[in-house]
Homo-oligomer: 358 residues x 4
């Protein structure tokens, strides 16, 4: 299943070294002005080759929109789009044609489908997230028309972590450094950490924190479509994701109910809010109008830039040294992907919410 | 959206104090013998009133199967089922008819839909999980015909936690105590903790660990349908869930790739396995034949058995004292729900996998 | 797949001689007052035993609503419902346990699933339409709040047919006779025809005409979700349906474009309408505000009340004489089912249409 | 909703004069060899400009496959594809920018979405069927690996009609003439009819007959997913379709059950078949192994090549003369579209059927 969403839906396609990565966005509301430069800017944030701490693969990653726009506005019809794969170094992967790299999809994909495109990870490559970033960038522009804003940032790399509370940070500074961490001093330490790991031919994991602001009360459903369940499914489908929590999350397990409940207050405008927001902006699966915040854990990528012992598809031992271009840490490039997935989920829930009363 | 799954699908219905909770299971394979006593046994594990540490609500929770079985076997047609709500103490909730309890769905539900059934939480009640347990119990019996087994247990209550590695424990002893923790000594401490919290009119959170054994290679898809993404979406849709991770999960963020990759080995039967299993049995979203393990974090339930200041639907301050029967800790009763959701996700992926080759 | 619809969805369950027939209605808007007596009245219109020209099976067919309503209004949560099967004459079917009746689902169902519930047709029984009538009756009440009305009537039995144009008839008189034909004289001839056919142990086919009035402009999508495609799929899923057309339908094949195009006119209120309505109220898959009319062809039912030569599941010849209670003509009872399917499709499209702009 | 299918799914995109028409095929089984020349050949059959009786628009309609194939075989991943729109004569449509052509989607689309791409019909153009033909051509090649073959032909143009029974005709001769009618003499008369109608600036309707051979027993479901209901929904979603029936179809309404039931016979190989096939290869919604045959009615296209009185979007009368290139009769080019939709529906049902037993 390569479709996500119920009303706002992305159907994606593409292998890393095939002709193109792309997708179809269906269910986008009609009449919304779209700034394609801004969509491209989001793609550029995801693009490899931005700095020394991410892979040097120098894809242009130019978006081509194939349908759905007319004179700058959405038609309400599907947005077909693609990004051509122009910087193929497919020969780099010839040595893995018959080899199963440890902790990659090589073995599982081959056993499931009976064959695989071994070049650059094929469908299991993180290049697949291009489609997500595009569909997320469209969703974001739609959401901005109703005042919903989405942010994400690198909050942990290895053992270097920010304060849990996003309110400590200036979100405008997220893109001021190539780690995408809103604390410049800690960003510098994270960057040094990544450089050291890279120099050792190793990789490192971390955490991205996401934030959704301006969400009205009412998004999400009481049962399977809880807003945080949709966010969890979406985030966990990002390559290398290992965990998700929202609000106080795992930290809440050790706490008492009396510490965690968010008491109501009525503000000067007569609007109902909560004094605290341990819940993370969602109650009973439905947004309550407060900030929605969550974390996504990413593992260290499995491609080490050093020799690794593994096996081939004849179950024989082989020694492998990766030759492609790889990230020592996915976090900086995962940030725009997390934002994109959040935007898609929220827009989908926003549109669904229009149907819950006549 | 009250349906979960693509091929094996549960569509659920029911409010806490309405006539019944139930659902329709669609897509169950034909010809499978079903032991309804075993389905009822799973419901009984979820049932309130089992011990002093869970809510005293004494529902009989008797399963009625309305269709889909013939002479003890599945027909391949939908299984309609219901559990009647017989132990109504609806009057207990009259005081919350116009009140928004803090950290409940009262406010968000009412704002979304314009009205709510205030009795016992209505659709947002954890009684909704009855449908999940039933559909999971059916799925489980189907999975057992192909050797797939599912386990879950309480691994943390407050600050009392088991070893992370499930291999330390005897899974056969999970149900030997009412906390559903496979370490009897720690179970005793957890139970004491819950009793203390309850005595104080408070509640406490914790973690359930899940385990799927015997899963063949090949379940799950490369993109949005990654097996762990489906698990995450399913688990996070359980009432009170706040976080999900699998394999090394959040702990993996602080680690190096060289520590985390799972090297292959070929066993004496010539089968490919991994030496370690940090990945948690899933590579690139597809099961690799190793054990799949994961954690689900649960918050302390929001209903405190003490006076709480809150507001009513006219935005006026009110004082509330819960009178219904409530769990001081959801963990013991969440265990069968986690198992049920896992069974549904795995069976759905198992059936989907049949279609990926001609 | 036992679910129909995208936003307003019915998931149905039930075998003819199982405990109950029922379903779950999901996606119904919140806050709509529901008259359950009116839902029961629709069920009664579908009910066997109403007159001598339909099956004498005397089911009470009492609707039980299990969830989703609160103080007379929809909660926005799923409506679980069921109708118990109380008038079992299962023994009547013992003779077909191992027999494949000609032009029934016995053979195909058994080969597909490996087993079947032979009693009363099991899942393939027309009793399955109970769920449709209930979900349609709910949909209809929702549609009435926005002025959309739905009608159907028997327009042909054997070679006795009404004028094609529904404007010739007084729709208020549809239920004035047990054939459900709005022309009393022709209804009488149809009834006599059915009686004669029945007396001969035979059955007869016919046509139901459907009509949707008050539909706003904009329902339906340009591609796969054309409103008439959704209607076609829904109608053709009714037991015994063999054909569907809308507007001028099959008659349009022999005509010129210049005869068939519907020219626009602007009425005194400045509203855009068409002078003719050969199109049947839908242009390019989207409703244009005119009346939507269509036909559904039904075959003569395959159960003859005489001896029939057939084979058993050991491929041996057997002689069979049906003993159950069967309709000599499905048309009268198909009328409320056609209306129900139309109501579901239109409400689904109506709700979807709310999401096509921000 | 621009997706059709449950397991084998096409999501399509594209406006007539936008950059491209295309789609994503999801759920195609892995490891199937694909002959892309054959896919292109199907596109060429649909292509305008093939002869004087279809539109002269001379699109190259070259297929570009963007993903999902590797060394000539399907990967099991989505097939992204597109056909660029290279023969734009968009200026031809400037006169309809503010005009609503009668019996087109101009009015309904504009009212639904608030804007439209007026060039060449935009999303409502029959160019959208390019995506269907591509996805159908892939499906067909998959079906051929299990011996399922699909045919369609023009069986009626205006009042010139073939015998209803397809067995009268040599299906190998369908493409021997540009009407795609298997009777050369009648094809000649149809062609002359179309030429006459075209000379008069008019258009004409007709019927396509479809045939599915080699389908195993068991495809389709008992309730909403009846195989003929899926076919109906798919066929009726083709531009200009007005009606669908299968087996004896509408003709069955006037017949007795005793005439229509298909008695079983056991052939020399011991296989169960029917003596007649009035049912059209489907019993109770499930294929019975006999030929599946059906008809699709198409209206005369609404674009007349003469002056037409209509209104503009300010509700003022205007006179319009179409200047684009248009078909006087859609039938010849509808044939490959009908085949494509049939192939998609059958493959989807074939794959679903794999999941109905363990």
């Amino acid at each position: 299943m390569n479709t996500i969403g119920h009303i706002y839906r992305l159907t994606s396609f593409g292998e890393s070294h095939g002709p193109a990565i792309g997708g179809v966005i269906d269910g986008i509301p009609a009449g919304v002005e779209i700034n394609l430069d801004e969509v491209q800017r989001q793609l550029d944030r995801r693009r490899p080759g931005q700095s020394s701490i991410v892979t040097a693969r120098d894809e242009k990653d130019r978006l081509k929109v194939l349908s759905g726009l007319f004179e700058g506005r959405t038609l309400g019809t599907p947005i077909g789009f693609m990004v051509e794969n122009t910087d193929h170094h497919s020969a780099d992967y010839e040595n893995v044609r018959h080899t199963f790299r440890p902790s990659h999809a090589d073995f599982t994909f081959t056993r499931k489908y009976g064959l695989r495109d071994h070049r650059g990870g094929g469908r299991s490559s993180a290049r697949e997230t291009i489609s997500r970033v595009v569909a997320g960038a469209f969703a974001r522009q739609v959401l901005q028309t109703v005042g919903i804003e989405i942010y994400a940032y690198t909050s942990q790399v290895g053992d270097i972590a920010l304060e849990p509370n996003y309110l400590h940070y200036d979100l405008a500074s997220i893109d001021s450094n190539d780690v995408r961490c809103p604390d410049p001093a800690i960003a510098k330490r994270m960057r040094e950490k990544i450089e050291r790991v890279k120099a050792a031919g190793d990789t490192i994991g971390g955490v991205v924190t996401g934030l959704i602001r301006g969400c009205p009360v009412g998004l999400g459903d009481p049962a399977f479509g809880k807003l945080h369940a949709l966010l969890a499914g979406a985030m966990m489908s990002i390559n290398a994701a290992k965990g998700f929590d929202y609000g106080m999350g795992f930290a809440e397990c050790g706490r008492l109910g009396s510490e965690m409940i968010d008491r109501f207050r009525v503000n000067e405008e007569g609007e109902i809010h909560t004094l605290t927001n341990h819940s993370g902006g969602i109650q009973g699966g439905i947004s309550n109008g407060e900030d929605i915040y969550f974390r996504v854990a990413f593992k260290p990528v499995a491609t080490l830039l050093r020799e690794v012992e593994t096996i081939n598809d004849a179950s024989q031992p082989v020694t492998l040294k990766a030759r492609g271009r790889h990230d020592p840490c996915v976090l900086p490039r995962a940030v725009p992907v997390v934002e994109a997935m959040a935007a898609m989920v929220v827009l989908d829930a926003y549109l669904a919410n229009k149907t819950c009363r006549m």
